[in-house]
């Protein structure tokens, strides 16, 4: 490896020996592509003319007006996921791969991978927990419509972490012609770095837009954290702005006192999962525990290693929002601003609303990571 792949004591490359050459090849392709004007031009062209960047920064009119929303919900595909699948898709092409595999929880990353598979001409396989396949029929159909094959995973708890396990198993046998298009800023090096760098466009735009609209940087930047890709993408360009608070919001689910949450940084302990040294929700023996959140995108028992480091170094703060708080924020945004956001993003908004009340003078930038179409039928049942 050319980079050390560490964020403080976190990160690394904890995979079976057989996958190390594939990760080295990916790191090399990524580093070389950064220096290649044609690659950068093609990616920027796709981000602008296919995905719809830059996305707007919307100042709230009826919610507290000091809240600014970075509108990744308006991106093609309906979430920030599209940014980095385009980047990884082009890297896969560059490496001469013909097949993409991906894991997905609720289906958002699977849909994003299907998009890039169709656009760039890959055979696309998406591993999805069998339980999620049953719950998210519409997203399964979306992926199929774009030519992807969805494979239900029957092992373990039949959810996201089992889908990742299965994708890693596939890749162990298929890396010669296959790129594993990991969906978040977690996993073995170089994925946390690659995904962050393809997502940092969110924060780069938002930072410039804040200066343009408000004339200064925000006081706080708030984003939800599951694996952590939208949060790290929003945070990255603010890390050196030491006066700006960075706040990650984890899924507190049914409450942090019980076991039904996905708050890895708040309740997890040091561990190694899915290739990375990070915080993990686990028992005393190191067995990974089941997680819960109303939003499938935050329902993950580990977290990207850079967030683990930002937590330990104190540069970022991490808090929780419960299912109920997120749902209330989801409803409030719809009623007040006419925006239906993803349940994941509603966690960030829920905390921003609290903060706006405590500090009415401060400017708060919120990552609105995705739109809520996928959550509407669930919301209908929950809010009825």
């Amino acid at each position: 490896m050319r980079m050390n792949g560490r964020f403080g004591r976190f990160g690394g490359c904890f995979v079976p020996e057989i996958l190390v050459p594939a990760l080295e090849q990916l790191e090399a392709a990524f580093l070389d592509a950064q220096e290649d004007v044609d690659f950068v031009t093609e990616l920027n062209g796709l981000l602008a003319n296919y995905a719809g960047r830059p996305t707007p920064l919307t100042r709230c009119r009826n919610l507290p007006v000091n809240i600014y929303l970075k509108r990744e919900d308006l991106l093609h595909g309906g979430a920030h996921k599209t940014n980095q699948v385009l980047g990884q898709g082009l890297l896969a092409k560059r490496m001469g791969k013909t097949r993409l595999i991906a894991e997905t929880g609720a289906g958002q990353h699977g849909v994003a991978t299907a998009i890039v598979g169709a656009l760039l001409g890959f055979e696309t396989i998406v591993y999805m927990g069998a339980e999620d396949v049953e719950r998210q029929q519409l997203n399964v159909f979306r992926m199929q419509l774009m030519g992807a094959k969805v494979i239900p995973v029957e092992s373990g708890g039949r959810t996201l972490k089992d889908a990742i396990n299965e994708a890693l198993r596939d890749w162990s046998a298929s890396f010669e012609n296959t790129h594993y298009l990991l969906g978040t800023a977690a996993g073995p090096h170089p994925f946390p770095t690659i995904v962050r760098d393809f997502q940092r466009v969110i924060g780069r735009e938002a930072r410039a837009q804040m200066i343009e609209q408000l004339g200064r940087l925000p006081d706080a930047v708030v984003a939800c954290v599951g694996g952590g890709s939208n949060a790290i993408g929003l945070f990255a360009d603010f890390i050196d702005d030491t006066g700006v608070r960075l706040i990650g919001v984890e899924a507190a689910g049914r409450g942090l006192d019980g076991d039904d949450h996905g708050a890895t940084l708040l309740r997890g302990t040091h561990g190694i999962l899915h290739g990375s040294e990070t915080y993990v929700l686990q028992d005393a023996d190191g067995q990974v525990t089941d997680t819960w959140s109303v939003s499938a995108g935050l329902d993950y028992p580990a977290v990207g290693p850079q967030h683990a480091h930002l937590r330990d170094s104190g540069r970022a703060e991490y808090v929780g929002a419960t299912d109920a708080e997120a749902l209330a924020a989801f409803k409030e945004l719809a009623e007040s601003e006419g925006i239906i956001c993803a349940f994941e993003s509603a966690h960030a908004l829920a905390h921003a609303l609290k903060l706006a009340e405590q500090e009415p003078g401060s400017a708060i930038l919120v990552g609105l990571s995705g739109r809520g179409d996928k959550d509407v039928s669930q919301a209908q049942a929950l809010l009825a």
Binding site: M1, G12, C13, F14, V15, P16, E17, I18, L19, V20, P21, S155, G156, K161, N165, L168, R169, S172, A173, S174, F175, E176, T269, H270, G271, I272, L273, H274, G275, V280, Q282, A284, D285, G286, Q287, V288
Partner: protein
């Protein structure tokens, strides 16, 4: 001299037969009997899995075994107790642990406890040579030998690292993939030569051994031994004749012994 070194010396060119079992599968009592059964069948060394909830290097058969053990409430301490009991009953048979990094880092003093229970080696499936040093340092201190993987796609530079960091034996993998998914019978003589040229510990083939002819092919390719995993674990799940199965595979190594 370590138990592995003594075993290879005793075998004097005859191929070593390693039997893999998942500790606690399907429960502690049966697991204890199975450890004795594979020795009765003629296994020269025992490889034991400590079950992990997310075994990414394993195929469906071994993953299911880990899940059975966890569902039966088996804890890491129980696994160490099984090893300690085995060590009392079989003072000379080398025992290697195969598990995952999270199990190792979750328990303060894992290496020491494993060594005290009587385990001879430790292979951490998701710790490649690149990340191994801090683990092998702890293993050296605790007196347990590191085992590392050499695959067909592992570059020579990495094999050099493996040679420097590991002891006991080198776990060789002929083809890409995970445990239990190989048709079996394909063994890369070139890999064995590269492992030997790097000066790594004795090469043992670990994936794709389920029939007597696979054992023969692996030894013909130059391996010093074989480890049979998924086929035995599958037999356990079907309550088959483990002793007889191990006997049938071990017999091949004896027949081959003159050929070396």
């Amino acid at each position: 001299m370590s138990r592995y070194a003594r075993m290879f010396e005793r075998l004097n060119g005859e191929g070593a037969f390693g039997a893999f079992l998942m500790l606690g599968d399907p429960n502690l009592e049966t697991s204890e009997q199975l450890l004795d059964a594979v020795v009765e069948g003629g296994a020269d060394m025992i490889e034991v899995g400590i079950p992990f909830s997310d075994p990414v290097a394993d195929g469906p058969v071994i993953q299911a075994a880990a899940q059975r053990a966890l569902a039966a409430g088996v804890r890491v301490s129980d696994c160490l107790d099984l090893i300690a009991g085995f060590r009392e009953r079989h003072p000379d048979v080398p025992v290697g642990i195969l598990t995952y990094a999270n199990i190792v880092v979750a328990r303060t003093g894992f290496m020491r406890d494993a060594a005290e229970a009587g385990a001879d080696s430790l292979l951490i499936a998701d710790v490649p040579a690149l990340e191994a040093e801090r683990f092998t340092r702890d293993m050296a201190q605790a007196g347990i030998e590191p085992v590392m993987i050499a695959a067909a796609n592992t570059p020579d530079a990495t094999l050099q690292r493996v040679a420097g960091l590991s002891k006991a034996y080198t776990y060789c993998v002929s083809r890409a993939g995970i445990t239990g998914t190989h048709a079996g019978g394909e063994f890369d003589a070139r890999l064995i030569q590269r492992v030997e040229a790097a000066g790594a510990p004795p090469a043992v083939f670990g994936f794709g051994i389920s029939k007597p002819e696979h054992v023969r092919a692996a030894l013909d390719a130059g391996a010093k031994g074989v480890i049979c995993g998924s086929a035995i674990v599958d037999l356990v799940s079907r309550r088959g004749d483990v002793v007889g199965f191990v006997q049938s595979l071990k017999a091949v190594t004896r027949n081959d012994s003159g050929a070396e």
